[in-house]
């Protein structure tokens, strides 16, 4: 043993008689590692504890609901911001216009677009045209510049609404505080009182803020009309047009490539009868079923009379340049007598 004790290799040889514990095969761990490095959705699918169908439906519902919210925001966003509603009240000296209130809304958020506000008041004794623009705003005080023109005559007086109409009329500077009233003079008409109020949206019917859902007996209202023919939308327009006094109030709806449809409260030549129910008008023409939808109840009448004129072109009949376009949907509510004229004013 003496020799053995001095030989370190003996211990080494002895130690070598012991085998090491074996590790498990690499493939087993390989699968585990694949799971560990799998993408998040793979992990989600493999560890999902609810039925995949239920999860899918839930996901679709979330997307649909969130999209809906976005749409609501987008719609509201198109008309939200800071707006100034101006009410123009024509004074006692304003003859037939006396006591009438005209309303318009302009943007006051600093953008150049939309910071003007124009309107035309058709009276029995003349036309009142007012152009207002915002030139500045300090805190809540708005700096307005107004030009107004009164043209004596009847309500159907032909007028060229171009800038030239106002070229001789100086702008009146009018600082306006919210809820404070200011006056300015209009030659030939008298004083007009202006009152302003800030809004955070544009009212659906800007010129008729007091409008109720129920139409009054003399009203014929078309708001954002959609015309459907045999389940196919052929016209979809924004805006509104309301007649409040004509006994033969009529809608003229022009559709590019289709001509115009006249829909009247009264019977007239070559017209077919249609039904009215709140904001829906139904009628049949030329073997087609039509449905006209509007955003508000149209009239208290239960029937309307409808005529289709395929060859009608605004460019040949409309006197106002902005209406004389054949390439876009246009609608107007006026008396039947007005709309049947060769030349149609606004």
């Amino acid at each position: 043993m003496q020799g053995q004790e001095n030989d370190p290799n003996d211990v080494e040889q002895y130690l070598k008689t012991f085998q090491l514990r074996q590790v498990r095969p690499l493939e087993i761990c390989s699968e585990q590692n694949r799971r560990a490095t799998a993408s998040w959705w793979e992990k989600g699918l493999t560890t999902m504890r609810i039925p995949k169908l239920a999860f899918g439906v839930m996901l679709i519902a979330i997307i649909a609901l969130s999209s809906g919210l976005v749409m609501v925001r987008a719609r509201a966003g198109a008309a939200t911001g800071r707006f100034l509603e101006l009410k123009y009240r024509i004074g006692p000296s304003g003859l037939a216009h006396s006591g009438r209130v005209d309303i318009c809304v302009m943007r006051v958020d600093g953008s150049q677009k939309g910071n003007t506000c124009d309107f035309v008041d058709h009276g029995r004794e003349g036309l009142l045209l007012v152009k207002t623009r915002l030139t500045g705003k300090v805190d809540e005080s708005a700096q307005l510049r107004i030009r107004a023109k009164y043209i004596p005559g009847d309500g159907d007086t032909e007028v060229d609404y171009s800038e030239a109409l106002f070229k001789d009329i100086p702008e009146k500077v009018l600082p306006l505080e919210p809820s404070a009233k200011r006056e300015f003079e209009v030659a030939g008409l008298g004083k007009i009182e202006v009152e302003g109020e800030y809004l955070d949206h544009i009212p659906p019917l800007v010129y008729r803020p007091q409008e109720t859902l129920d139409p009054n007996p003399k009203e014929f209202r078309i708001v954002a009309p959609v015309l459907v023919r045999d389940n196919q939308v052929i016209a979809n327009a924004d805006g509104s047009s309301i007649d409040t006094g004509s006994p033969d109030a009529t809608l003229m709806l022009y559709v590019p490539g289709e001509g115009r449809y006249l829909i009247s409260e009264v019977p007239f030549e070559s017209a077919v009868v249609g039904g009215v129910h709140l904001g829906k008008i139904t009628f049949s023409l030329e073997s087609h079923d039509y449905l006209l939808l509007t955003s508000m109840p149209v009239t208290v009448s239960e029937h309307v009379w409808v005529k289709h004129e395929p060859s009608f072109k605004p460019s040949e009949h409309m006197t106002r340049q902005s209406d004389a376009r054949d390439d876009r949907v246009m609608f107007l509510v006026r008396s039947l007598k007005t709309l049947e004229q060769e030349k149609i004013g606004h």
Binding site: V11, E12, Y14, F18, L26, S30
Partner: protein
């Protein structure tokens, strides 16, 4: 050192040949066997995914890699760095359970630097030069550690080597 891309098949072969030794080496450095096994598997799988270049003689690289892993494991788990008494990283041949315990106890009692040198020489099958590359120390230092370690182990394992299985092994080999 010349480097080359190493295939998955080659890595698998390396794992099969050296995986157990690498895991035991981690145990020798104070890591539990299960953790050591996981660490070695993870190392090889990472190498497969990364498609890294490895030296022509990859063994020293692998040992250095698992050695670094042991540092990380110690940092992350703050576990006791001494060899775990409850863990056997040597197989227990029939009738030699007590010997295994004694050998592991003897190894546990010597300094880690010396233990590493013995492990790499005996079970890693490395030359002193290769061990110096793994441990990144001079070869003379490795030789000293190895010599001191064997002397201590001879002392501790003397009862076993005299008349025990060690003696029987020697006699059979003679």
């Amino acid at each position: 050192l010349a480097a080359r891309n190493i295939s998955t098949a080659s890595l698998t072969a390396l794992y099969e040949k050296h995986g157990s030794t690498l895991a035991a080496y981690l145990c020798c450095r104070g890591v539990e066997f299960a953790s050591a096994e996981d660490a070695v598997q993870q190392l090889f799988l990472k190498l497969m995914q990364a498609k890294v270049s490895m030296p022509e003689e990859p063994l020293a690289y692998l040992y250095r890699a698992v050695r670094n892993t042991s540092f990380n494991l110690r940092r992350s788990t703050r576990r006791e760095v001494e060899m775990n008494e409850a863990e056997n990283w040597l197989m227990e041949p029939e009738g030699r359970a007590e010997e295994v315990l004694s050998v592991q106890a003897a190894l546990r009692d010597i300094p880690q630097e010396q233990r590493e040198a013995v492990f790499l020489k005996v079970w890693g099958g490395m030359t002193l030069q290769e061990i110096s590359e793994v441990l990144e120390i001079p070869m003379n230092t490795v030789a000293s550690r190895y010599r001191y370690a064997l002397e201590k182990l001879r002392e501790k394992l003397h009862p076993l080597t005299n008349g025990g299985s060690y003696a029987r092994t020697r006699k059979r080999s003679e």
